[in-house]
Each structure stands twice: as structure tokens, then as C-alpha cells.
Amino acid sequence: MNEAHYARRKKINALMFTLTAICAAVASGTLLAILGYIAWKGASSLNWDFLIHLPKPVGEKGGGIVNSIVGSAKVVGLAGLMGIPVGVLGGVYLAEYGRGKYAFAVRYAADVMNGVPSIVVGLFAYALIVHPMKKFSALSGSVALAFIMIPIVLRNTEEFLRLVPGTIREAALALGVPRWKVTVLVIVPTAGRGILTGALLALARVAGETAPLIFTAFGNRFNDNGWLNPIATLPHTIYTYAISPYEDWHNQAWAAALILMAFVLLVNVTARVWLRPSSGTSH
């Protein structure tokens, strides 16, 4: 081995290693920077009153965002009730029975859906529900979010079901158990944690969606009233406050962002910690 050649190779190695380390730091540093900045800006306006009071009229100091917190919980909760079952059952179909052209089409459609801009999904929910009902509503917002959740949950469910070894399926079939019972009582529970984790992550993802809610849930300065009326949601309130001309609202937008982010982070961490003991796979 040529000494000079070797030294040069070592140098290039050190250089490339540094480069990868810097890129990795940029990737994780961005998250830390966002978290830190929002915490710093939001913490000053964050207090108990902010969490439990309605917004004050324009021009008055103070007021809270309780309507947005409750509204987000309702809209995201209903979206989950609609989107998770459809996604999970569709994923079961793809993993257990999905062969041939139809399955290919479903899988392909889910992947394309995943990439559809969320504002387009919002427009679709507007055309589907808001327009015929002539009214913005919590329901239409939930439908828009459910459309975003379905492909995520579906593909995730399929992936985790495919991780269940074929030998487990064989073991159950060989006991004289009908195919559908094998799927429902053995395969799905074996993949259960992964499926649930995926559903939680999908919930966290749509909890932060703003665009699909602009012309569906629409926003509301007061406590919401049922499922068929406009409703305030956290991301939409942040958007409204942030583009307003009032300094006080800007501060409240930061505080609301902090709450939203804390919620998303909490769900994410819970989901990932939960997943770990069942299998080494991360997503």
C-alpha cells in the first residue's frame, strides 16, 4: 500500500464522515430549532386562562382558545372514527386477500392519495358535503381529515400484517380454524400494536392539518354547536391569528402552536414507545 495514497484516502474518509454528520445534525437540529422557537415564543402567552376561556372580541386583551381545543378534539376524533376502521379493514383486505389487478389498483390509489395536496382534499370535502348542505361544518372537516388518514392507515396496516410470519398463519389454519377467524383472531392481534401505532400517528398527522379545514370546519369564535355547524380548530385558529394584524393575536397564535405541537409530540412519542417492545421495526 502506497503511503501517500493511504493518507489521502483517510483524509477523504474524514471529510465525507464530517459531511454526513453535519447533514444529520441539520436534520435533527431543525426539529430542535422549531420546538425551541415555538416554546420560547409561545410560553409567554400560555397560562391556565388561555386554555379554559373563549376568545375575547377584537381589541380586547386576553381571552383563550378553549373552543379550538375542544373543536380539534371533536373534528380529529370523528375523523379517526371514520378513517381508522376504513383504513384498517382495507389494509386487512390488501394483506390477506389482496392479489391481482384490483389489489394493485387499491394500493396504487392509496399511494397517490398519500401524495395529494391536503388543500385539494379540503376542496373535495367542500364539494361533497359543504356545498350540498350549504353550510360549513365539523362533519365536513372530519370527512376531509378522514380522507387524509385512510391511505396512511391502510398502507401501514398492510405493512404490519405482512410482517406477521406466514408460519403463524399456517399454524392457525392447520388447527382447523376457518380463514376469516385466523385473520381476525390471530393475524390482526399479532400485528395489533403496529396497526394501533400507525393509527395514532395518522391521528397526530391530521391533527396538525390546516388547509383541509379552511373551507370545511371554517372556524368559529364561540363554542361549537353540534356537528353540523362551523367549528374552531387549533391549526385553523393559529392560521387566522397569525395572519391577523393584531400583536395580541400573534402571541396567542404562538401559544396555540405550542399546545398543538405538544399534543402531536405526545402522541408521537407514546405511539413509538408503545411500538418498541413488540418488534424491532420502526416506521
Binding site: R99, A171, G176, V177
Partner: protein
């Protein structure tokens, strides 16, 4: 589905005919062809008798179709997409290929190459799984079946104090005996084992061989093995398969001492395989 189907035993090689004790046929395979859509046939017309309350070993080199043959017996072969099977597998006077596979598999249980306990279930739940999944929920009955099956699988003494521990926490050999207990719990008439010891050490293997010899009093055992010594140790009857055909079938001691086919002799003396 024809109840008059012929289940008379096939003639054995001449020398073995005399010492065979009179045994009923549990399963009779006639002209069985099997394979995969678009591929070369794996089984090219196999004829075979499986005698009640005996252990029958299926031996042969890799790729000879011995696993496909045993998987046809409870139609697990068809669980693979594109698999085909044609011919007759007679059990109780009916052709298994015409039966509902779910019903057939309750009568013909199976243990696989690698231990495969259900990962979400405890030891007791694993054993009871066949019953619970088919709707039996009476705790007293289940507890009784769990103990009985674990005893038959020679595992009870090792696990009786930790029945609620996860099944996958056991050692490989214990897991395989757990799988045997799970298969026995549904009271099959025939138990199929597809190279059950290939992932186990010699001590775990010996325990499984012992228990096979014990349980054959209550049911019929068919074991695929790539280990000729294992066939010699556990099986009264041995089937030698080669390239999708049944070359020789007879009493094990006869086959290993005085094989009637040259190819059998070549295989058991280690000239190929």
C-alpha cells in the same frame, strides 16, 4: 365422497408381508399428483398407505416432494397460492380432496419445521387455541384439555407453574413440544410432522422422538425427516421418495436392512442425497 372407495391396503414387498401385524389403514393415498400452477409437477402419482396407530416416516433427498406430500394430507399444500393437487387421499372412506379443508384439518393436525407458537398468547392459550378459536370458552374444559395435551406432549412438568407466561419465551425444543400439544388439543386422528426436529438440538430431538412413540397408541403419526437415523428410531413404516415418486414403502427395519429397490439402497447407504 364415494363411500365405497377402495381402502384395502396395498401389497407390501414380499418379504415384509408375513410379519406385519393386522392394522387398519388410517389414510390411503392413491395416484396423488401435486404441484404449482405453471411449474413442473412435484408429486407424480404417489400411492401410499398410512396405518393406524403407527409412526410412518417419509424420507428422501431435498426436493423429492416429501414435504409437499405431507402437506397434501391435510391440504395445507393448498394454502400456498397457485398450488394444485389431484388424485385420492382416502380417510374414513372419503376423499380428503373433496372435504372442507377446515373439517379435514381438525382430523389431521400438523406440526411444522420451525416451532411457531402464537406470539400474542400464553402457554395455556397456545394449547387451547384450536378450541377457543372454534368457539369453546368453558374454562373448566379448557383447563382440562390444556393439562392433558401438555402431558401428552411431555411438557406439563416443565411449564405447569408458568402456564400464563408467553409461549415464545420457552426454549426451541419446548416451543416445538408446545406446538405438538396445541395440535393434540383438538384430538386429531392423524398427526403430521414436517421435519419437526430440524431446528432442534439432539437432546430436544430425543424428547420429541420419545413422545412420538408414546402418543402413537392414541393416534397415527406421519413424520417427514431428512434424518434416516430418526426414521429408524421412531417409525415402524418408512416411505422413500425420489423425484416426486414413491420408490419404496415398507417396514422400517426391512427397508434399512434389506431394501428391495436399488435406489433406496443407494440413498440409505449415503451414495447420494
Amino acid at each position: 365422497m364415494n363411500p365405497t372407495m377402495d381402502m384395502r391396503p396395498m401389497p407390501l414387498p414380499a418379504e415384509t408381508a408375513a410379519p406385519v401385524k393386522e392394522t387398519k389403514i388410517a389414510m390411503a393415498v392413491r395416484g396423488l399428483k401435486a404441484g404449482y400452477a405453471g411449474g413442473a409437477p412435484v408429486l407424480k402419482g404417489v400411492n401410499l398407505d398410512i396405518r393406524e396407530n403407527t409412526v410412518t416416516a417419509i424420507i428422501g433427498p431435498s426436493g423429492c416432494g416429501k414435504s409437499t406430500l405431507i402437506r397434501c394430507l391435510n391440504r395445507m399444500h393448498e394454502a400456498i397460492p397457485g398450488a394444485t393437487a389431484d388424485g385420492e387421499i382416502l380417510i374414513g372412506g372419503r376423499n380428503a380432496l373433496d372435504l372442507d379443508p377446515v373439517v379435514l384439518r381438525r382430523a389431521v393436525g400438523m406440526v411444522f419445521q420451525r416451532p411457531n407458537p402464537f406470539p400474542t398468547m400464553s402457554i395455556a392459550q397456545n394449547v387451547a387455541a384450536g378450541l377457543v378459536l372454534n368457539g369453546v370458552h368453558d374454562r373448566a374444559i379448557l383447563a382440562e384439555v390444556v393439562e392433558k395435551s401438555l402431558r401428552r406432549a411431555a411438557l406439563w412438568d416443565e411449564v405447569k407453574d408458568k402456564l400464563d407466561a408467553p409461549g415464545v419465551g420457552l426454549s426451541g425444543g419446548q416451543q416445538q413440544r408446545l406446538c405438538i400439544a396445541r395440535a393434540l388439543a383438538v384430538e386429531p386422528a392423524v398427526l403430521l410432522l414436517d421435519e419437526p426436529c430440524s431446528a432442534l438440538d439432539p437432546i430436544a430431538t430425543a424428547r420429541i422422538e420419545e413422545l412420538l412413540i408414546q402418543i402413537k397408541d392414541q393416534l397415527t403419526v406421519v413424520i417427514v425427516t431428512h434424518n434416516m437415523q430418526q426414521a429408524a428410531r421412531v417409525a415402524e413404516y418408512t416411505v422413500f421418495m425420489l423425484m416426486g415418486e414413491m420408490v419404496e414403502y415398507g417396514l422400517t427395519r426391512q427397508m434399512f436392512t434389506k431394501p428391495s429397490d436399488k435406489r433406496t439402497e443407494d440413498y440409505i447407504t449415503g451414495r447420494f442425497g
